[in-house]
């Protein structure tokens, strides 16, 4: 491997030792303010490209992780993360693509009420957080995704959400009105 500048080595070591993804500011707090961080990070990312380990940026935070195509070697004897229910997956997608959204808006899209547990599961996983209230009648609580969501699903930013541009262009991410005329769907319970 290439000989490294001491400053780049320091960034590499700090990211390697870190227990959680770091922002450039956090890295600077360890390696000192004089390091050209942007350049060091770019250099390291290129250095590790194609190796078994790679340096990635997720929502402004950087971390090392194993390359995705190594998954089959590593899954051995590892516990798979708990499977999400269909309701939870859809709810997460709606929040991610349309955040911030209220519970009523999620229900309007899905056509069924969401059980309390569904949002709890997503918040417990650290992917969804309450994000204030919408001004207006009832001041409904809004939900949005977290930094942990981007990290877990390997997204640099929300713009990297698969197909988000197409969905936006097709108008499918426009704010939800209570469509479907007068049909009352709110009394329906979902069956997870």
């Amino acid at each position: 491997m290439a000989e490294l500048d001491p400053a780049v080595r320091a960034v590499e070591a700090v990211l390697f030792a870190a227990e959680a993804p770091l922002t450039p500011d956090e890295i600077a707090a360890y390696v000192g303010p004089d390091v050209e961080l942007k350049q060091a990070l770019r250099l390291l990312r290129e250095d590790y490209a194609g190796r078994g380990v790679e340096l990635v940026e997720r929502g402004g935070r950087w971390h090392f992780q194993t390359a995705a195509d190594m998954a089959h070697f590593l899954r051995r004897e590892r516990e798979e993360p708990k499977r999400l229910s269909r309701a939870a997956v859809e709810t997460l997608a709606i929040i991610a693509y349309q955040e911030p959204v209220s519970r009523a808006e999620i229900e309007a899209i899905r056509g069924v009420q969401i059980s309390k547990g569904t949002l709890d599961v997503l918040m417990e996983a650290g992917w969804v957080r309450p994000a204030g209230r919408r001004e207006g009648p009832g001041r409904p609580l809004l939900y949005a995704t977290t930094q942990g969501f981007l990290t877990h699903f390997g997204l640099k930013t929300r713009r990297d959400l698969p197909g988000i541009d197409d969905l936006k262009a097709a108008g499918l991410l426009d704010p939800v009105e209570a469509t479907l005329g007068d049909v009352e769907l709110e009394s329906v319970d979902e069956s997870d």
Partner: protein
């Protein structure tokens, strides 16, 4: 679980509500939801519900509400246009179509999201990171006033305290001795000791004078210059020259 109707009920419960059922029917009709026939979809839904009814299944109320609404939409779409109805049946049909597209889009998005390379399933973080440490250093704060006030407090607490006792009005024993001895020469008969006191209004000083004069009388009695007499305890005390 044992009867046939139970099994079919479970089948109905497999749908996540009427919209889910509608979407399934629409997808069976066309992959591209923008091209589906709403009218045909309505027919299919109503037929599905009718079948379920024929099997005497319990159908959840919301499925029936949707069926009623779709039946209304169907008749509105088939009847000659009435421009006074707002929104128009075509508008309602379009809204239903968009709604199905939306649900479908989010369903697909969820599936794609969940299939991404996820941490802990497809990619892995370092198994045993050394960890970064933050060493907390105390930046001690104190100011000069605090310092000198503290010194003042220590000094005030521990310096030997000088008590200045105010001089209180007293009659000294010497004074009383002179006065009683001089007066005894004039008073030959038994006289109450109070008569030997100078005219004093201050009760403190008077008490002091009484005490001193009493001690003076005792001293004179000891020297054989005076005699004391008292009928009983706390009775008036009399003095005369010996």
């Amino acid at each position: 679980m044992s009867t046939e109707s139970d099994a079919l009920t479970i089948d109905i419960d497999g749908w996540e509500g009427p919209l889910d059922l509608l979407l399934a029917l629409a997808r069976a009709q066309k992959v591209d939801l923008r091209e589906i026939s709403i009218l045909a979809l309505v027919e299919q839904y109503l037929a599905f519900i009718a079948d379920a009814k024929a099997l005497k299944l319990e159908i959840a109320a919301d499925y029936l509400v949707m069926a009623a609404w779709l039946a209304y939409l169907k008749s509105a779409l088939l009847l000659p246009k009435d421009p006074t109805i707002d929104p128009s049946p075509e508008e309602l049909a379009l809204r239903l179509q968009i709604r199905l597209q939306r649900l479908q889009a989010m369903r697909e998005a969820g599936a794609r999201l969940i299939a991404r390379d996820r941490i802990g399933r497809d990619v892995f973080l370092r198994g045993h990171p050394e960890g970064l440490r933050v060493v907390r250093r105390s930046d001690w704060q104190a100011d000069l006033y605090e310092l000198i006030a503290a010194y003042g407090a220590v000094m005030a607490r521990t310096r030997p305290v000088v008590h200045q006792v105010m001089r209180r009005p007293v009659m000294s024993l010497e004074e009383a001795l002179q006065r009683v001895e001089a007066m005894l020469g004039q008073k030959v008969d038994w006289t109450r000791i109070e008569a030997f006191l100078p005219g004093i209004s201050d009760p403190q000083l008077r008490r002091s004078a009484l005490a001193s004069s009493f001690v003076a009388a005792l001293e004179l009695a000891k020297q054989g210059k005076a005699e004391l007499k008292q009928d009983e305890a706390f009775a008036p005390l009399f003095v005369r020259a010996a």
